[in-house]
Amino acid sequence: MLKRPLAAALFVAAGLLPAHAAKTTLVVSLPIEPPGLDPTIAAPVAIREVTWVNLFEGLVRLDRDGRVQPLLAKSWEVSPDGLTYTFRLQDGVKFHDGTAFDSADVKFAFDRARAPNSTNAQKQIFAPIDAIETPDPATVRIKLKEPTGNFLYYLGWGDAVIVAPETAENNKANPVGTGPFKFKSWARGDKVELIRNPDYWQPGKVKLESVTFRFVNDPQAQVAALRAGDVDAIPNMAAPEVFAGLKKDPRFTVVAGNTEGEIVAGLNNAKKPFDDPRVRRALMHAVDRKTLIEGAYSGFGQPIGSHFSPNHPAYVDTTGVVPHDPAKAKALLKEAGFGSGLAMTIKTPQMPYASRSAELLTAMLSEVGVDLKIVPTEFPAKWIEEVFKNKDYDMTIVAHTEPLDIDIYARDSYYFNYKSDKLKAVIAEAARTVDEKARFAKYAEAEKILAEDVPALFLFQLPKLGVWNAKLKGMWENYPIPSADVTEVYWVD
């Protein structure tokens, strides 16, 4: 008899007895504070993490598998020529300020995004739009100039959420959307608080009453706050070495998933000798991706042979196209006239993955007679200036976190200085192709062209290292889009 109260007391002390009701508050730790809360006027991922589908909603959304799902549009039809999209809107949707949502808001939001003075970071999403018609409050008809395969997919991004004409100007500081959470407060430098929207058009959809996003830049401090119970979840942490240590702790769920971020060591394809595909291929042959991932990211992350996310259905494994083969690398360098060696630099930003990868690349390339010198730079400010704009570099390394961005290799002004008519034709064809299967086949073709031509050293897919309280359910394991969707998150006892 004595044992039982003792055991009970111990359980209480250990906090293991079930609570009376499941918790309805959530504290999420994000590494970067958003510079504003309007995803339609600036690019930072941090804005999307706080606002996308939590606060703001688009006509459609992407689900956790990256598939397009209806949201403010309950259904749509695409004309056989692929030029007209007719959306039927949800009924009874209200903005957080109480005003009703209808087709005029959709027209306003998209016209604002494509206006001449628009500062939308993904203005090209709206470039194909020819006209937006609103035959009635519940219908929007969008006419395109040309068929656009990924039009619906892009409408699921944060850049295409629907904002109201009355409140759009102030969304950066006081966001008003249609989402399941409303903006409550923003203590700048510290946290943003959201509370449940009682008038949400899908009643009962969210279980949380409030969500706090706390901005903690230092991964050690993030983990300390998690261990101390000050935060409940770190959806995506940047310190793989810390992450590995959390696996043993039963209090936490630890998930290594995928993001849409490709870590690539971009080459200046217009600069000699990197205009020679033999040199580029030789550099790729010198790299052992597995060892690189081990050293740069504690073994988390999937090797890639091209610029495409393994999450995507159109992904093809191209890691074998230019595999690790130092002998071949040396032979190719000799053939290109660099048998006695090659000296080059890598402009390396301050992110730990970048500097570690650069060090490993230096070691790997030295084995084939390439002297790679690390030149530090600062991301984003200095890097954008030196590498992206002035293209003053040999090699650099960054993660390209935008989903489905293989078309950057077909952009003339992009920092790779890569010009391939063959690739441009395939990418243009993919953009025009409305049929999904045919479009994916075009992407596969583009992936193979890049894998063979090596405009950049394709290294690995940036993983999403998530850790959260074991009693928390509904968090995303992968990031098919940069986000921190908490609309399906709940606590279990």
Binding site: G36, T119, Q124, A187, D190, Q220, A224, E385
Partner: protein, 331 residues
């Protein structure tokens, strides 16, 4: 002027004070103008386009141009400088490029953390350093002295951000006594807010306390050997009384100088410590603004830091007057 009311004691003390205040304010104004011009020039040549940072690598050229226009970055440099300084003279710090809100509001919130944090740190640092330094000097080359020297050597070697992480591991993660970071806001009450500042203040203070301990020790040793101290002892004053009323007051003058320098250092150290503890103070604001190239905020924060440092030096000079009666009577 102060002597007009007929109290003779006043005039001697207040005249140098008044002159000091006028001189200080003049130097404050000149320094601030120089700092303003310097920081503006530095930011002009510093690589980084705020518009490109805000809009990312997929932004089209027309979108970038629209944002640059909205932010006023397309105006000539001289015009921007004049607008900025003109605004400052009217008390308008401008609008933050990233937050798009008035910098004055941002800064006011941040100062409400950084100033209490720095003051708390200096309090802790002096409370540790002065007794330890005097103790070490009074027990020169004995056990107490050696222990103090080991402590101070350690303190000088340990960086404050590392100390901060260690403090979090021990007092937040393991013991759960103090929050691991963040700030609940002064509106949540004095105790929860102060609690959030305890660990960061110690992290800031301990390395400085180590330096200050060494300074106190050597200053005290210097005074202990002085003639007037021997005289005091010869008068029959006890060792303790000699220390208290003759040695320590005289040793405090160099200590005050270092203390003044340190308070300036605390504002700088706050950048690291506020980042480790995730405190939304002025240091963190400066750090974020620099990474984001929020030119308006960087310029203002650097000016404010410079102003604070000058004010602190002014306070130290006033401190000399209190500590050293000779400075008062010399006038």
């Amino acid at each position: 002027m102060g002597g007009l009311d007929g109290r003779p004691g006043d005039s001697a003390a207040s005249r140098p004070l008044l002159r000091l205040i006028i001189l200080r304010f003049a130097s404050l104004a000149i320094t601030l103008v120089a700092v303003a011009a310097a920081i503006f020039l530095i930011l002009e040549v510093l690589p980084g386009d705020p518009a490109a940072i805000m809009l990312g690598t997929s932004a089209r050229e027309d979108t970038l141009a629209a944002l640059r226009h909205e932010l006023g970055l397309d105006r000539p440099a001289l015009e921007r400088f004049v607008l900025w300084v003109g605004g400052l003279l009217q008390g308008d710090l401008g609008t933050s490029i990233t937050y798009r809100m008035p910098v004055s509001a941002l800064v006011a919130d941040r100062l409400a953390i950084t100033i209490p944090l720095s003051l708390l740190a200096i309090l802790i640092s002096t409370a540790i350093a002065i007794p330890l330094g005097v103790l070490a000097a009074a027990n020169r080359d004995r056990g107490a002295d050696r222990s103090v020297l080991v402590f101070s050597q350690l303190g000088v070697a340990v960086p404050n951000f590392w100390l901060g992480i260690l403090g979090i591991l021990v007092f937040s993660t393991a013991l759960g006594w103090l929050p691991a970071g963040g700030f609940p806001g002064w509106s949540s009450g004095l105790w929860p807010s102060s609690k959030a500042l305890v660990l960061p203040a110690f992290a800031l203070a301990l390395p400085q306390a180590a330096v200050l301990t060494r300074v106190t020790r050597s200053a005290t040793l210097e005074v202990i050997g002085a003639d007037f101290v021997r005289t005091a002892r010869a008068k029959g004053l006890s060792e303790r009384a000699t220390l208290r009323s003759h040695v320590v007051p005289n040793a405090l003058i160099p200590v005050a100088t270092i203390l003044g320098l340190q308070l300036s250092f605390f504002f700088g150290g706050a950048i690291l410590v506020e980042n480790v503890f995730n405190l939304p103070g002025l240091g963190r604001l400066a750090y974020q603004a620099l990474a984001q190239r929020d030119l308006v905020v960087i310029k203002d924060v650097v000016l404010i830091f410079s102003g604070l440092v000058i004010l602190v030096n002014f306070a130290v000079d006033l401190g000399y007057l209190v500590l050293d009666p000779r400075l008062r009577s010399r006038a």
